[in-house]
Symmetry: C2
Subunit: 289 residues, 2 copies
């Protein structure tokens, strides 16, 4: 009989215990890779864990639906959850530790300290979600202090989030390498998102307009040399507006360095970002060029 010894993933709920564990790893000379998540995993999350795995000795995944990045009107309570399935997926893939703290431990009574990347959090998605990014930077900073990673991996799907967090890491001198993982898509192009389950079948079918119009814009730039932001934005907005259920929230072409709008696409510096609603679902997608 051959016994295959499978390494078990450790699940930690307590902040102090996680910090102690991370400390012990660092003292043992291990490099730590960190993937912060809100759970309800899909292939996008797993791809980030695999990127971490390829870079470090120990992969820590956090699993925490962060209340302070949701507005009172948003979907905090409805946010999809399946902790057991997530643990299985993370373990069978690449994670060594799943850190799943309680809300009370992360935000005890009297909590009042926030980290903010000024102005950038009010652009793009921040215009309709003004407190969102302050919530994101605060929780990620806390998690960085708890997990003490050498490397942290985030999805480019949330491009503004990644650029803001990378700015925070630089501005606050955090000794962490920030890595962006490419967007993982369904076969028909829809960017994977835990929120896609909110889509009714007809909305789901129409939502492909986002990735399709971005792909088309990519060809317009590459093949036709169309660089004018207005032209490209109007094309995408027009395509979304043609659907029955889609409602454009924004389509913007901005500099990756400043998040400010630019009048024309500049190779290597451009982010074409959009948000749209399909029924209950607010979807985002983007193209870096």
């Amino acid at each position: 009989m051959i016994e295959v010894k499978k390494k078990m993933m450790k699940i930690i709920h307590n902040v102090f215990e996680m910090q102690k564990e991370a400390n012990a790893m660092r003292r043992a000379g291990k490099r730590i890779g960190f993937v912060p998540t809100m759970g309800y995993f899909h292939e996008g999350h797993l791809s980030l864990m695999r990127i971490a795995r390829s870079r470090v000795d120990m992969v820590i995944v956090s699993h925490f639906v962060n209340p302070i990045q949701f507005a009172p009107t948003e979907d905090l309570d409805a946010y999809p959850r399946d902790f057991e399935r997530d643990c299985q997926m993370a373990e069978s893939d690449s994670a060594d530790i799943m850190f799943a703290p309680d809300r009370k431990e992360i935000y005890p009574d009297g909590f009042r300290t926030y980290a903010e990347v000024e102005e950038w959090g009010r652009k793009l998605c921040g215009r309709t979600r003004p407190m969102h990014f302050r919530g994101v930077t605060t929780i990620v900073l806390k998690l960085f202090h708890i997990v003490q990673p050498d490397v942290s991996v985030f999805g480019w799907k949330d491009a503004q989030q990644f650029l803001i967090l990378r700015r925070m890491v630089k501005d606050l001198d955090l000794p962490i390498e920030m890595i962006g993982g490419e967007i993982v898509r369904e076969k028909d192009g829809l960017a994977m998102s835990s929120r896609n389950i909110y889509l009714a079948p007809e909305e789901r079918a129409e939502a492909t307009v986002l990735s399709m119009s971005l792909a088309k814009v990519h060809r317009m730039i590459e093949e036709q040399g169309i660089l004018d932001s207005k032209t490209l934005i109007n094309y995408i907005t027009g395509e979304i507006d043609k659907t029955r259920h889609g409602r454009t929230e924004y389509v913007e072409i901005v500099s990756q360095e400043t998040l400010d709008p630019i009048s024309g696409v500049e190779k290597g510096k451009t982010l074409i970002a959009l948000a749209a609603r399909f029924g209950k679902a607010r979807l985002i997608d983007n193209l870096r060029y």
Copy 2:
């Protein structure tokens, strides 16, 4: 001939180099103690270095006049400086490393990330210096990331600053032990401060009213059992107002837990804090009870 080999203090100006040095110390199992300062040392600073010395293997002192904690109307450019004297004082005392970064390196173009302990920074001194504590929390957080201390020592002279920073450390899960060093005073009671050099001789003589009225209040509480905040505040304000040059900015009795005013002194929980102007100098002092 007996050669006395004196350990030399290292001076580091570069953020990356400081971070590398701190990393190497930690990997070697050394415990790091950290004393952040704005320089122009007096006995108060040295006492903090000695506290650090007694607790850890390596003492790092930072020396940086932090522009973002000064309002445009304040004394940033006039703030007293004497780097060479400071180095001698720190070395002859307890410091192993003096970290003295350039402004440009700490706040490069595009810097836009701030840490803030909400509300607490608008109380007491924050009412006349609304951006001050946001500047303090941001620089200290940056320095913590650069120096990676196990222990950090601050003076109780800046009581609000210490309470805010301690709150930040707790809220952001920083694995740092925060220690407050007692106020060091001149022979006549005036709390030591780099800003005392702004005082003209007559102002300097009168400024003892601050420590003397706090000492008197301590006796009123202990010996006469007077606990009513209003009575104690009125006494101090009255004493300051009797001087020729003193102008009360505030005298407040607050909870050390919340920084909110309390109507009566509660043993072990109380902070009696004041700020007053004497000519160009803005002086602060306090009594914890």
